[in-house]
């Protein structure tokens, strides 16, 4: 407290000395100085002792800085410290809030971007799948056509082969029957050719 200055700006030791001197002076005045006017005033019920006033001023001069440094100063510091802390907390909260808002908008933007990218990817995959399906269908159709043509060709060949076999068999049967009827061998290349030409003429188109 010795280094503290009072509200008046004087250092505390100076105020202490002034206060003590005033207390002593007030005591002296109270005991030794008598003023007629104050005596008359006291007779009328209003007691005024300048010595008490001077001493009280001395006491109060010391008391004010003591109360200030003992309690009012620390109380003011505590209140202003708490106010500053609250303001700092509010500022931090405000900063966090704005940061959170920023993060939220970033998150929403990224979500929108992700959704858009996913949608595009899905569309792209669908397009690829559709192209693949078309290609597979075309391949399958081509292969089916190829198989069909091949089968038709096989059938035609088989039919021709069977017809030839049948024709040979019919010629053989005809010649055999003719030999039985005529009792002689008619199996010659010329006869066989004649029968084959005959069969071709009577053949019903396929």
């Amino acid at each position: 407290m010795a280094n503290q200055k009072s509200s008046s700006g004087l250092p505390f030791p100076v105020i202490l000395v002034i206060g003590i001197v005033m207390m002593a002076g007030g005591f002296y005045v109270s005991k030794n100085v008598h003023i007629d006017f104050l005596t008359k005033l006291a007779e009328q019920g209003i007691s005024l002792d300048p010595g008490k006033t001077i001493s009280a001023i001395g006491v109060l001069l010391i008391l004010f800085p003591v109360i200030r440094s003992f309690y009012i100063g620390p109380l003011g510091d505590a209140i202003s410290g708490r106010t500053n802390e609250l303001e700092r907390t509010f500022t931090e909260a405000e900063s966090l809030r704005s940061e959170m808002t920023q993060m939220r908008s970033d998150y929403e933007r990224r979500l929108v971007e992700t959704e858009s990218a996913a949608r595009e990817q899905i569309q792209s995959e669908i397009r690829k799948a559709q192209e693949l399906r078309g290609q597979l269908e075309a391949d399958a159709r081509a292969r089916a056509d190829e198989y069909l043509h091949k089968a038709q060709a096989d059938i035609e060949n088989e039919k021709n082969r069977v017809i030839n076999d049948l024709r040979i068999h019919v010629v053989d049967l005809t010649l055999g029957a003719t030999e039985k009827i005529l009792g002689e061998n008619v199996d010659s290349d010329r006869n066989r050719k004649l029968i084959a030409e005959f069969i071709d003429k009577v053949e019903v188109p396929g």
């Binding site: 509200s7 008046s8 005591f27 109270s30 005991k31 005596t39 006291a42 007779e43 009328q44 019920g45 209003i46 007691s47 005024l48 002792d49 300048p50 010595g51 008490k52 006033t53 001077i54 001493s55 009280a56 001023i57 006491v59 109060l60 001069l61 008391l63 004010f64 109360i67 200030r68 003992f70 309690y71 009012i72 100063g73 620390p74 109380l75 003011g76 505590a78 209140i79 708490r82 802390e85």
Partner: protein, 254 residues
């Protein structure tokens, strides 16, 4: 100090010379000691609660509320620079209030003594003059007492205004001290008179005045500090006005 001091002469110092209700010299300082002890016990208790972020002790909460009240009052009356007067105003408030409270439970109290109240008023007005001189300079402060600057023969009027203002400043001491003394001492006398009325039937009728006296204790502490703020405002507001004026001129120039 040839007289023998006893508890009776100290505490029962009522009825000094001329029937006044003030205490003797020694009695006044015994009561002042009681006030200081009560005040510091209270403040020491309240100080223990200052360590917490939230003040949990009721004494700390009360002083915090008082501090905020005084802060509002000083800033409201004096202006933004009024915060620096909070310690003085709050100390004044607490001393006067505790002294007034002592008067509820003891035969007399420091504030029931005109001499003590005059000391409070002299400190208050003396501080106001000191602040006025700091704010306006010694010549500037006293020149305000003379009112607006007048020339020629009207200087006599300025002289008259100066004398009247000087008397007015002295009378501020008288009004501050007499108001406090009258209210506290008057309350005492009223309680004594009503107790005498009920003495025949053994009923302390004066007891029923306690709520009114308690209100008086608060109001008188408030009035004293409020008037001190007003007086400080009167001598320091020119400084702010000048600043505002110059700011206004600068703004206009821009």
């Amino acid at each position: 100090m040839g007289e023998v001091l006893t508890a009776g002469t100290l505490l029962g110092a009522a009825g000094g010379e001329g029937g006044a209700h003030g205490a003797s010299y020694e009695g006044l300082f015994v009561y002042l000691g009681i006030v200081v002890v009560i005040l510091f016990l209270f403040l020491a208790n309240a100080k223990q609660g200052l360590n917490n972020r939230v003040f949990k002790k009721w004494t700390t909460q009360w002083t915090e509320q008082l501090y905020l009240f005084i802060e509002n009052m000083t800033v409201g009356i004096i202006g933004g620079h009024g915060r620096k007067y909070i310690p003085l105003i709050m100390a004044l408030w607490m001393i006067i209030f505790v002294s007034n409270i002592v008067s509820l439970f003891f035969p007399t109290a420091p504030t029931a003594d005109l001499s003590f109240n005059l000391a409070l008023a002299l400190i208050s007005i003396g501080y106001v003059q000191w602040e006025g001189m700091k704010a306006n300079g010694v010549a500037g402060h006293f020149s305000h007492f003379a009112g607006p600057k007048l020339g020629g023969g009207l200087v006599l009027i300025s002289l008259m205004i100066f004398v009247i203002e000087l008397i007015s400043e002295v009378m501020k001491n008288v009004s501050l001290s007499l108001r406090l003394f009258g209210n506290i001492e008057g309350g005492h006398q009223a309680v004594v008179a009503m107790n005498e009325l009920g003495a025949g039937v053994y009923i302390p009728i004066g007891f029923f005045l306690l709520p009114v006296k308690l209100l008086t204790c608060v109001v008188q502490a408030l009035i004293f500090t409020l008037l001190t703020c007003v007086y400080i405002s009167l001598v320091t507001h020119h400084e702010e006005e000048g600043h505002e004026h110059s700011h206004g001129e600068l703004a206009g120039a821009h």
